[in-house]
C-alpha cells in the first residue's frame, strides 16, 4: 500500500509539540491535524453548524478551500483528488441537508474503495434529538456507507479520531469514513500539549507464502488460464508486478471496469474489459478457461453476469486484501488474503518464463472471429469516432473521467487507457453527476495533466452547477458531452428488453450546454454549429481552461455487445462481426 500511504509534508507544522502549549478550539485542532496529515485542498460548502470549522480553516496557510456549489459536488471533487493521487482526501459540509447531500458521494466512494474523509458540522450536543434546525442523524445515515464513522463528543476525542480516520480510510481495502462534529465540540477550548503522529496505513495482512507456490503450481499446470485483474492492483500500486507476472506466465488477462489501464491498451495479453459490455471474444474465452485467477477483484455482477454461468469450466483462485470478499460470490479452490502487490512481488521472484502456444492460438482465433466492433470509429459525430478523435488529440498524461450511462461504457470499451489511475469513473454505485466534479478534483490534484471528462446530456445536468467551481479555479477541465437528448442507456434497455416502450427517456426541453457553460464562466463550444468541427475540437482540448464541448450523436446509437441484466455472459446481444 506504499502508493496510497499519505505523505505528510516535512515542515514545521509537523513538529509534535505545539509551538507553545495553548488552548485551542476543537475546530482549530481539526484544521491543525489535517495540515499535519498533509492535506492541501478541502472541497466543501459552509453552513451554520460548520461556522467554527470555516473560521479556523481561514487561518490555514497550507490548506486551500475549494467552494463547491453543492455538497455532492464537494464530495466528488474530493473523490477525484483521491482517485488520481491514491491519498485520502477531505470534504466539508454543514449539518442537515449539507450532510445528506454528501451521502451519494460517500456511498460511491464505499463501493469503489476510495479513501474519502467527510467531515460534517452538527447541531450542538444539547440540541441533538430535539429536531433542531438543520438537525439530521448524520451518524446513522453515514453508518452503512462508510468503513467507519464517528460522532465526536469532545474536543479531546478529535486528537485520536482524526488520525484514526486517515488510518482506517487508507488501510487494507481503502474506503470512506465520516466524522460528525457538533458545533459545541468545534468551539470547546482545551489544552493541547502534544500532537499525535500523522496517521499512515497499517501494515498489510501477513499471509502464508507457501500459498504462492501452490498458486503458481496451479497456474503452470493449467492449460487455459486467465487472469482477471481489478481495482486492487491499482490501489496496491502493483501494475509493474502484474505485467511481469502475466508476461512470464504467458496468461491472457481480462480487466474489470475498475482495472482499466493496468495493462496498456495494445498489450498482447490484454483481452480488454469483461462482462456486460465486454468484447464477444473476451466473454467467450471466459467460457472456455480452466483456471481463473482473480487479483484484486470482487466478482461484481456487471463483470460476472449470471454467477452460475460464469467461467463454468474453471477453478477459481482469488487474491484480495479484503477477507470478506473471498467466497462472497465465487468459491475459490485457493485464496490468499493479502496485498496483491506483495503476493505478485514474491511470486515473480520464483518465476521461470513459460509459453502457451496452443492457448494463445485459441485466443487469436476467437479474437479474429469475434472482435470488439467499434462501429463508426472514423466518424466524429458517432460515439466511438468521437472517443477516438479525442484520444488521438490527447496523450497518455491526460486523466479521463466519465459520468454514467452509454457514454461511460463506450469510453470503457474504446478509449486507449495506458496507465493506472488514468481512468476515473463511478463503477459500483454508477452515479450520474460524478463526472464533472471528479474531473475538477483530478485537475486540482494534478494541475499539470489535462482533465478530460466524457459525459452525456442526462448525467451532466446532475451536477452542472460545478462548472462555476471549475471557472472560479480556472482549471484545465474539458467536458465532452455526447448529446443524444435522451437518457441513452435507459432508452437502450427499454428498446431491448421492454418492447421499445420508450418512456421518460427523451428530454422534450433541450439545453444549450455551450451557452450554459458560458453563463457560468467557462468556454462553450457547440460542434453542431462548427464549420470545421475536428479543428474546433482540437483547439478546445489543447488550450488551457475549463471548456464544455457539445457533440451531438443519434439517440439510436447502442452499446454493444450487451449482456441482459441477470443473463449469462455468453448470451450477448449485438456487436457481431459481419
Amino acid at each position: 500500500m506504499s502508493e496510497s500511504a499519505s505523505q505528510p509534508a516535512n515542515n514545521p507544522v509537523n513538529s509534535q509539540i505545539p509551538e507553545a502549549a495553548k488552548q485551542l478550539s476543537g475546530s482549530q485542532i481539526i484544521i491543525k491535524l489535517l495540515e499535519r496529515q498533509g492535506v492541501t485542498h478541502i472541497a466543501g460548502v459552509p453552513g451554520g453548524a460548520a461556522l467554527p470549522l470555516y473560521d479556523s480553516l481561514a487561518d490555514s496557510s497550507t490548506i486551500k478551500h475549494v467552494l463547491a456549489r453543492h455538497e455532492q459536488g464537494a464530495g466528488f471533487i474530493a473523490q477525484g483528488m483521491a482517485r488520481v493521487s491514491g491519498e485520502a482526501q477531505v470534504c466539508f459540509a454543514s449539518s442537515g441537508p449539507g450532510a445528506s447531500n454528501l451521502i451519494t458521494a460517500v456511498a460511491d466512494a464505499r463501493l469503489d474503495s476510495i479513501p474519502l474523509i467527510a467531515i460534517t458540522g452538527q447541531v450542538p450536543q444539547q440540541m441533538i434529538g430535539t429536531d433542531a434546525f438543520q438537525e439530521i442523524d448524520t451518524f446513522g445515515l453515514m453508518l452503512p456507507i462508510t468503513k467507519h464513522n464517528w460522532m465526536v463528543r469532545s474536543a479531546e476525542e478529535l486528537l485520536t479520531v482524526i488520525p484514526e480516520a486517515f488510518r482506517i480510510a487508507l488501510s487494507g481495502r481503502p474506503g470512506p469514513v465520516s466524522i460528525d462534529v457538533p458545533k459545541d465540540v468545534q468551539t470547546q477550548l482545551i489544552d493541547v500539549t502534544e500532537w499525535p503522529e500523522p496517521a499512515v496505513a497499517v501494515e498489510t495482512p501477513a499471509f502464508d507464502e507457501q500459498a504462492i507456490e501452490a498458486m503458481l503450481a496451479k497456474i503452470r499446470s493449467s492449460h487455459k488460464p486467465l487472469l482477471m485483474i481489478g481495482g486492487g492492483i491499482v490501489y496496491s500500486g502493483a501494475t509493474e508486478q502484474l505485467r511481469e507476472f502475466a508476461e512470464k506466465l504467458d496468461v491472457p488477462t481480462v480487466q474489470t471496469f475498475m482495472g482499466l489501464g493496468i495493462l496498456p491498451d495494445d498489450h498482447p495479453l490484454s483481452l480488454g474489459m469483461l462482462g456486460m459490455h465486454g468484447a464477444r471474444y473476451t466473454n467467450y474465452l471466459l467460457e472456455e478457461c480452466d483456471l481463473l485467477i482473480g487479483l484484486g477483484v470482487r466478482f461484481d455482477d456487471r463483470a460476472t453476469g449470471k454467477v452460475e454461468a460464469f467461467c463454468p469450466k474453471a477453478e477459481i483462485i482469488h487474491v484480495d486484501i479484503d477477507r470478506s470478499e473471498i467466497g462472497k460470490v465465487k468459491n475459490p479452490v485457493l485464496s490468499i488474503q493479502a496485498d496483491v502487490g506483495e503476493v505478485l512481488t514474491l511470486a515473480n521472484q520464483q518465476l521461470e518464463a513459460m509459453q502457451r502456444p496452443l492457448w494463445q492460438q485459441r485466443v487469436e482465433q476467437l479474437k479474429a472471429a469475434h472482435p470488439l466492433i467499434l462501429e463508426g470509429a472514423d466518424e466524429l459525430f458517432r460515439p466511438y469516432g468521437a472517443i477516438k478523435a479525442v484520444a488521438d488529440i490527447l496523450d497518455d498524461t491526460a486523466n479521463i473521467s466519465t459520468d454514467v450511462g452509454q457514454h461511460q461504457m463506450w469510453v470503457a470499451q474504446a478509449y486507449p487507457f495506458n496507465r493506472p489511475r488514468q481512468w476515473i469513473s463511478s463503477g459500483g454505485l454508477g452515479t450520474m453527476g460524478f463526472g464533472l466534479p471528479a474531473a475538477i478534483g483530478a485537475a486540482l490534484a494534478q494541475p499539470d495533466r489535462k482533465s478530460v471528462c466524457f459525459s452525456g446530456d442526462g448525467s451532466f445536468m446532475m451536477n452542472i452547477q460545478e462548472l462555476a467551481t471549475a471557472a472560479e479555479e480556472n482549471l484545465d477541465v474539458k467536458i465532452i458531452i455526447l448529446n443524444n437528448g435522451h437518457l441513452g442507456l435507459v432508452r437502450q434497455q427499454q428498446t431491448l428488453f421492454y418492447n421499445k416502450n420508450l418512456n421518460a427517456v427523451k428530454y422534450q426541453q433541450t439545453t444549450d450546454f455551450a451557452k450554459a457553460a458560458e453563463a457560468m464562466g467557462c468556454k462553450g463550444v457547440n460542434l453542431a454549429l462548427s464549420e470545421d468541427p475536428m479543428t474546433d475540437l482540437k483547439n478546445a482540448l489543447l488550450e488551457h481552461g475549463p471548456c464544455v464541448i457539445n457533440l451531438p450523436i443519434s439517440e439510436t446509437e447502442m452499446v454493444y455487445p450487451m449482456v441482459a441484466p441477470g443473463g449469462a455472459n455468453c448470451d450477448m446481444i449485438g456487436g457481431e462481426a459481419e
Partner: protein, 107 residues
C-alpha cells in the same frame, strides 16, 4: 426448553447458530452490528447485549442468534471487519444465553 421437539422445531434448531462478539462499548456499536445484518439480509433471530464486567464499561458482549448456516462464514468475516468489533467466535446453542432465556419468549 421443552423436552420433546416437533420435527419443524428440530429443523429450525439445526439452522441456528450463536455468535459471541466482544465490542467496544459506545453509542453506535449496536447500530453497526444490526445495520450490517439488515443491509446484507442476514437472518438475525436474537440479540443480547450487556457491558462486560471488569472492563470498566469499555467493552460489551454481544450474543447473536442467527438463521444462516450457509452464509455463516461470510457473516463472521463481515462482522469482523467492523472497527468496533474486537472478537467474533462461534458458540454452542445448547448452553447459550438464548437457550437459557427461552422461557421469556413464549406467548
Amino acid at each position: 426448553m421443552s423436552a420433546v421437539m416437533t420435527p419443524s422445531e428440530t429443523t429450525e434448531r439445526l439452522q441456528q447458530s450463536v455468535l459471541k462478539l466482544t465490542v467496544n462499548n459506545h453509542p453506535g456499536v449496536m447500530s453497526a452490528v444490526c445495520g450490517l445484518f439488515s443491509r446484507r439480509s442476514y437472518n438475525l433471530e436474537g440479540i443480547m447485549v450487556r457491558p462486560i464486567q471488569g472492563t470498566d464499561g469499555a467493552q460489551s458482549r454481544v450474543w447473536l442468534l442467527l438463521n444462516e448456516v450457509d452464509k455463516l462464514e461470510q457473516v463472521m468475516r463481515h462482522t469482523e471487519k467492523l472497527v468496533d468489533v474486537l472478537t467474533v467466535d462461534r458458540h454452542k446453542l445448547e448452553d447459550s444465553v438464548f437457550a437459557k432465556t427461552e422461557g421469556f419468549f413464549k406467548v
